[in-house]
């Protein structure tokens, strides 16, 4: 084969290539001429889709980063719904609440997935579990975790902790009402590396030294519901509680509404001299309430029964009983029913299924607050944020309105101590907890 022959063949391939290229350009131009507008639209749509996708990805990324810092975005209406459910009233606007409470209730808005509920339930049963891959160990140190109310609070802690990717391990302890056990539990938790600790303090100032020791070890402690007025921040980083004095004034307002005057009433309290009861009683009296009988109940049904028996026998005409715990109220009502006396109005903290259902059967004027379990969620937010080095308030003071009992709060299929829908535990999860599956 000669070089010229080869050159000729190359020129032939070049001609073929040029021809194919020309046909291709023609075809493209032809197609462009026939369907230019469609193609343009399609291109725009693709661009728009790509832009939307990019935006969604960016939003997701933003959400992810927001979740990582314990924040979420829900609409104002959705948040208001959660606030209404938690506080059992439609009179309090979400934007008037403390920022940490808003944030916690925003995170509580929306139903967890079935998978999340399964995990929460298993954790609730096990007392120690892994909620996520995060580095923070969150703990619940309960002073007395043996009643249904505390168990629903524990579930609130778990559900809220699951919203934080930073939280890995969860540990729960129960002191069964023993201060020494509570102190030992706190020592054990810090030894296990718990950095964020949510506490229900049943022991008042007596528990502060143990909490101070835990914080010295590097933990951040947030308490919920129980009054810890005056606690140093060296003991408690954030107190999530009502303004006890304001609660007393609200009780006075509810009393006036219930009986049309300032009294006479009876004050029932829990353990003798506990600061919470002393606080609201003082402020209710300052608000004009006239109490002519006081009794301790130890916050137990038997104690409430003794107090009510003494009140009935004293012959003092109490038109209302002001009390700080709803669970023993049926024992009080039973005494009046047994004695054949008219049941006085009862203005009480918290909410209880048996109390509401009994009220439907034997009507009287009953004012209650909401379940208050959700306050544990606010404490979780405070403890985790403080652990991450964020500035948190020393105290998150939430409003505690008293509302007339609602028939819808009674669910005869639920146990006596079920705290009601304001506990903010999803129905499906509540069913599982009650069934103990």
């Amino acid at each position: 084969m000669s070089f010229s022959g080869k050159f000729d063949r190359r020129r032939g391939w070049l001609k073929v290539t040029l021809l194919i290229g020309a046909v291709a350009i023609f075809a493209v131009v032809l197609l462009a001429g026939c369907g230019g507008s469609d193609d343009t639209t399609g291109g725009s749509e693709e661009t728009a889709a790509a832009e939307t996708e990019a935006a969604t990805t960016e939003e997701a990324a933003e959400e992810g980063s927001e979740e990582a810092s314990g924040e979420t975005t829900v609409s104002a209406d959705e948040l208001q719904k959660t606030v209404d459910q938690a506080l059992e009233t439609e009179e309090i606007k979400a934007d008037t609440l403390p920022p940490l409470m808003i944030e916690a209730l925003e995170m509580a808005t929306g139903e967890p997935s079935a998978e999340e509920m399964d995990k929460a339930f298993e954790c609730w049963k096990a007392d120690s579990c892994t909620l996520g891959d995060g580095p923070i160990t969150l703990a619940l140190a309960d002073g007395f975790g043996d009643n249904t109310w505390r168990q629903f609070s524990k579930m609130n802690v778990i559900l809220q902790a699951m919203k934080f990717p930073e939280v890995g391990k969860f540990i729960a302890t129960n002191a069964h009402g023993e201060l020494a056990t509570f102190q030992a539990n706190l020592r054990s938790l810090t030894a296990q590396g718990a950095e964020a600790i949510v506490v229900y303090n049943d022991f008042g100032p007596a528990a502060y030294p143990a909490m101070q020791a835990a914080q010295r070890e590097g933990a951040k402690i947030a308490t919920y519901v129980g009054s810890n007025d005056g606690a140093p921040t060296t003991a408690i980083t954030t107190r999530v509680q009502p303004d006890i004095c304001e609660a007393g004034k609200e009780m006075a307002k509810a009393t006036e509404e219930a009986i049309g005057g300032p009294g006479p009433v009876a004050y029932f309290e829990g353990t003798p001299g506990n600061p919470q009861d002393e606080g609201w009683k003082k402020c209710a009296t300052e608000a004009g309430i006239e109490a002519d009988f006081e009794a301790e109940t130890e916050w137990t049904p038997a104690g409430a029964q003794k107090a009510a028996t003494a009140l009935v026998a004293s012959g003092k005409p109490a038109k209302a009983i002001l009390y700080s715990y709803s669970n023993p109220v049926p024992s009080i009502v039973n005494v009046y029913l047994k004695a054949g006396k008219e049941i006085p109005a009862i203005i009480t903290w918290t909410q209880n299924n048996e109390t509401t259902c009994q009220w439907i059967e034997h009507p009287y004027k009953l004012y209650q607050t909401n379940a208050l379990n959700w306050a544990a969620r606010v404490a979780v937010n405070a403890a985790v944020k403080a652990t991450e080095g964020e500035e948190v308030e020393d105290a998150v003071i939430y409003p505690q309105p008293y509302s007339p009992a609602k028939k819808s709060s009674c669910d005869p299929s639920k146990p006596a101590e079920f705290p009601g829908p304001s506990a903010l535990v999803p129905e499906a999860l509540t069913e599982k907890m009650l069934a103990g599956q």
């Binding site: 003798p272 038997a302 028996t309 009935v312 039973n334 004695a339 103990g436």
Partner: protein, 350 residues
């Protein structure tokens, strides 16, 4: 000196009065009568009304029951600190085994009885068989029972209301007097009869008051002493079931108020903690006294602190009085001897 010519009736009354002995049982009965009068005339004129009686008498009845059980153990020289845990377990069993259904109550009661027998046997065998301290054993067994109760009951029990038949019975009354009080009164009378008139009961008393003598007499004293723990546990069980019925929604604090009060009631009834004869009727009076005193102080609006001071003072005075009554002869002799040895002791020193 009585006139021998006096009428037969007067003579017999006089003789009865001369032979009358001030026992602790009579003293506590007199004090209870006095307290009831004070309650009616000085504390509240509503005391004997149906409304007060119907709400107060169930509490008295339950304390009488558990104090009677405690008396059996105290008579052996022991003390039973597993009482509150046993009562609390009864509440949990009634809830869980009956599932709130009246027709399943019987099965729950059988379960309760078995649990009480087991608790009583464990206490009795460890204390009497192994000669361990009743204080430590019953405290430990109480902890075990309480821990088991928490696990058995679960975190959130799905049933929290006792069956209607037990709550109806526990809240029923006869003219304001609770069935529980009537039942406990009958039980105290039966216990008294059993201890004083039935051979087995007398052997139980003999085994408690003089164990060595009982053994030498052929009585199986250790077995009887173990039986005292089992009987006590069964009686706590009855008290626990009735307390659950009365409260209707028993929780883990059901038995707590009855530990110290049951011991106080027994001691006020004249028993000594080192063991010996106890009187169920005197224990009954002790239970009435301690419950009514607490009730009166509550009605008067005394705080828990003030109530504790008054109750403590009353207990100290009561125990001192019982000591004086029990030892009046020797105290009298000692006083007379002291007077003979030092006739001018009261005169000031010159």
């Amino acid at each position: 000196m009585s006139d021998p010519k006096a009428g037969g009736l007067d003579a017999s009354v006089l003789r009865t009065l001369q032979e009358f002995r001030f026992t602790p049982a009579w003293v506590i009965t007199g004090v209870v009568v006095l307290l009831l009068l004070v309650s009616q005339f000085a504390v509240t004129s509503n005391f004997f009304t149906q409304s007060t009686m119907s709400t107060l008498t169930p509490s008295i009845g339950i304390l009488i029951l558990v104090a009677t059980g405690q008396a059996f153990v105290i008579s052996t020289g022991g003390i039973d600190l597993s009482l509150p845990a046993t009562m609390t377990l009864m509440g949990a069993i009634v809830l869980k085994q009956s599932e709130g259904q009246s027709d399943q109550l019987l099965g729950a009661l059988v379960f309760c009885a078995i649990a009480c027998i087991v608790i009583g046997l464990v206490n009795g065998i460890l204390v009497e068989g192994l000669r361990l301290s009743s204080l430590v054993v019953t405290l430990a067994v109480g902890q075990l029972v309480l821990g088991y109760t928490q696990l058995y009951r679960g975190n959130v029990p799905s049933i929290q209301h006792v069956p209607d038949n037990i709550s109806n019975w526990a809240s029923a009354d006869l003219g304001g007097v609770s069935y529980i009080l009537i039942f406990s009164f009958v039980l105290a009378v039966i216990a008294t009869f059993f201890l004083h008139r039935v051979v087995t009961g007398r052997r139980l008393v003999a085994s408690s008051t003089a164990e060595r003598a009982a053994v030498l007499s052929g009585v199986k004293a250790p077995a009887y002493r173990i039986a005292a723990y089992v009987i006590a546990s069964l009686v706590y069980g009855v008290g626990g079931v009735l307390a659950a019925g009365q409260i209707q929604t028993p929780d883990l604090t059901l038995g707590e108020p009855y530990l110290l009060t049951s011991v106080v009631a027994v001691v006020l009834g004249g028993a000594v903690l080192t063991g010996g004869r106890v009187s169920p009727i005197a224990t009954l009076m002790g239970a009435v006294f301690i419950t009514v005193l607490d009730f009166d102080l509550r009605v008067e609006g005394y705080s828990a602190g003030a109530r504790m001071i008054i109750q403590g003072a009353v207990l100290v005075i009561g125990l001192s009085l019982i000591y004086v009554i029990r030892n009046r002869a020797s105290i009298g002799r000692a006083l007379r001897r002291s007077g003979q040895l030092n006739p001018d002791r009261t005169e000031p020193a010159k």
